[in-house]
């Protein structure tokens, strides 16, 4: 089997050198041998059955081209972050409290991808309820970095980034609340896209912070992310926050030469000054020079409120989390802690909820505080006002420039255990990704190089709302041009 990216795999199908079942069997055996802990659940029988169905289509099809047109992701093996439901497959969200949860429905994105011909190999490890930047908060153990096992894979979609990089699936779904797709993508050296808020249905995504959560792809290259995004984007009657905005065929924007000479790239001084690992800084500077050498114009801009983004983000995200996670009461689904009879209803709830991990408890406590009587205005409302100012910063910037460029993270993948004892330090890992999350605008991570130790560095490109096509087109151009 050659490379796992979509067009190479489709090429192999076109020449009939391999069948969907052969691909799936090969990857299931790779997953068995993998030591990175990226898969939490492997749905072997389900995947093999799906692949056999595709085999039948494949064998009966005289024109594979037609098949690939009807099913644009035909025979593409994927992994799904364990926060996204797949009917009949255990879905834990990385938490003990959902250890035995088998959802009776699939997320809209999962239905769309299966309809398009994908085969789901299994569910991918993540920080518990997507709360973390290193994947060390999973109740089922950390994901190890795919090339440097003493390092973190990044979080919270660490299993997704790692599995793609390791060659265990063609692409993976992740979710991004404050950087949870982009950060692990940059740490592991793959592409990751956080779409505009509302671009992709959240139906079936286990909620962390509902005004920020967004599902997106992690893939081997930009083109593949575009091909996935054009399948999963669009209005969904099951998600009132999904937007009725036209979905373009994003991958078409990659077919022709792109002229970068009229491109205006904003370089926000607040996201690019002072606080960087020097090798990351160099890599980002080089990326900017590459664009400039193709005629693009780098323009220094200001996002003056971005230094408050971490504070506003954590208040809003934790407040929403404390509300969303109140549903885990041990009655309808999930685990219940064994307890003696008596103690009252509150005791029943609180003993079950002690199954949450420590980071989740910390966030629920802080979120409850920020929403509590007497503190609501000072914390939650204030943070939402600052969120408005951050959004205005982006609106103003996009009057001036086409896209914004920065690093994804101030440092490459850090060591396992390095930040676990200091939650605030861990939260600051997201300092470059949360401003765009608060504004709701699309952003992606594309590999821009490696440091001396071979650790990947990610370039972040941020675009105006619902202009994914331009963002992907430019990222694709950068990726191709730099090979």
């Amino acid at each position: 089997m050659k490379a796992l990216n979509i067009s190479d795999l489709h090429q192999s199908y076109l020449t009939r050198t391999i069948s969907p079942s052969e691909v799936v069997r090969e990857l299931l055996s790779r997953i068995d041998q993998s030591k990175t802990n990226s898969f939490l659940t492997v749905c072997r029988e389900r995947a093999l059955a799906q692949a056999r169905d595709l085999d039948v289509l494949f064998e009966n099809s005289k024109q594979i081209e037609e098949l690939l047109e009807k099913k644009p992701l035909f025979g593409i093996p994927i992994g799904v972050k364990d926060a996204i439901t797949v009917r009949g497959v255990r879905t834990t969200a990385g938490s003990r409290i959902l250890e035995n949860y088998v959802p009776p429905f699939s997320a809209t994105v999962v239905n769309q991808l299966e309809q398009a011909g994908c085969v789901i190999l299994g569910k991918l490890n993540m920080d518990e309820f997507a709360m973390g930047s290193s994947n060390e908060n999973s109740a089922f153990g950390a994901v190890l970095h795919p090339t440097h096992p003493d390092r973190v894979a990044g979080g919270s979609s660490g299993g997704s980034a790692c599995a793609v990089r390791e060659g265990l699936c063609s692409f993976a779904l992740g979710s991004d609340t404050g950087g949870s797709i982009r950060l692990p993508a940059s740490f592991c050296g793959v592409t990751g896209v956080k779409p505009t808020y509302g671009r992709v249905s959240r139906y079936g995504l286990i909620a962390f912070a509902s005004s920020l959560d967004q599902i997106g792809p992690l893939s081997l290259n930009v083109e593949d992310s575009a091909r996935v995004l054009e399948v999963i984007s669009g209005k969904d009657p099951m998600d009132a926050t999904s937007a009725p905005v036209l979905v373009r065929k994003y991958s078409d924007f990659m077919k022709n030469q792109t002229d970068l000479s009229s491109l205006k790239i904003g370089v926000p001084k607040e996201l690019n000054e002072g606080t960087f690992d020097p090798e990351v800084e160099n890599s980002i500077q080089e990326a900017l020079r590459w664009f400039e050498s193709r005629g693009a114009k780098g323009i220094e801009i200001s996002l003056p409120h971005s230094k408050y983004a971490i504070s506003a983000y954590y208040i809003i995200a934790l407040a929403e989390a404390s509300s969303n996670l109140s549903r885990y009461d041990g009655v309808e689904y999930g685990q219940r802690k064994k307890q003696k009879t008596g103690g009252g209803l509150e005791k029943f709830y609180s003993s079950t909820r002690s199954l949450f991990g420590e980071e989740v408890k910390r966030r629920i406590l802080l979120g409850t505080f920020c929403l509590s009587s007497g503190y609501y205005d000072a914390y939650y409302k204030k943070a939402c006002q600052v969120r408005r100012l951050i959004r205005r910063d982006f609106d103003q910037a996009f009057n001036q420039v086409d896209l914004i460029l920065s690093a994804v993270s101030p440092s490459p993948a850090f060591r396992l255990g390095e930040r676990t004892s200091d939650p605030l330090k861990m939260y600051l890992s997201d300092v470059l990704t949360v401003p765009s999350s608060l504004a709701g605008v699309p952003a992606l991570s594309v590999p821009s190089g490696e440091n001396r130790e071979g650790l990947p560095i990610g370039l972040q490109l941020i675009g105006p709302s619902f202009q994914e096509e331009r963002l992907l087109q430019i990222a694709h151009c950068f990726e191709k041009g730099r090979v």
Partner: protein, 120 residues
């Protein structure tokens, strides 16, 4: 620059910050109160750790106090488009078709319902 550098660069903020809770609660009392509001059972080790960490996080986010937000409308949700309502039409729900599948994930089941321990 490393991460310790990054936190240092925010260090100037800490001088201007007071602990968020004006009441004379100790960290442990604060945690226990919030834990009770959130229906969370904590070990004594957790009470201690979470109290100390929560205080540091709240001190950090108090930097928002420097931002002038007079007259700024809070942004609660990034899509400020009008939410359209669907027609109020009955359609089959999951539960009518998949009772067993749904109940299979419940910790305890009694006939066609959820079973809970006696709490009174």
């Amino acid at each position: 620059m490393t991460f310790s550098g990054l936190t240092e660069s925010f260090a100037f903020l800490k001088d201007s910050i007071k602990f968020s809770d004006p009441m004379t609660q100790t960290n442990s009392e604060w945690v226990e109160k919030m834990a009770s509001l959130s229906r969370l059972e904590l070990t004594s080790g957790e009470v201690e750790r979470l109290g100390e960490q929560a205080q540091r996080i709240l001190q950090y986010v108090d930097q928002l106090g420097e931002v002038n937000t007079d007259g700024v409308e809070p942004l609660i949700h990034p899509n400020e488009v009008e939410i359209s309502f669907r027609k109020d039409e009955a359609s089959p729900s999951l539960s009518s078709e998949q009772k067993e599948e749904i109940l299979a994930s419940a910790p305890e089941v009694f006939h066609e319902g959820y079973r809970v321990p006696p709490v009174l």
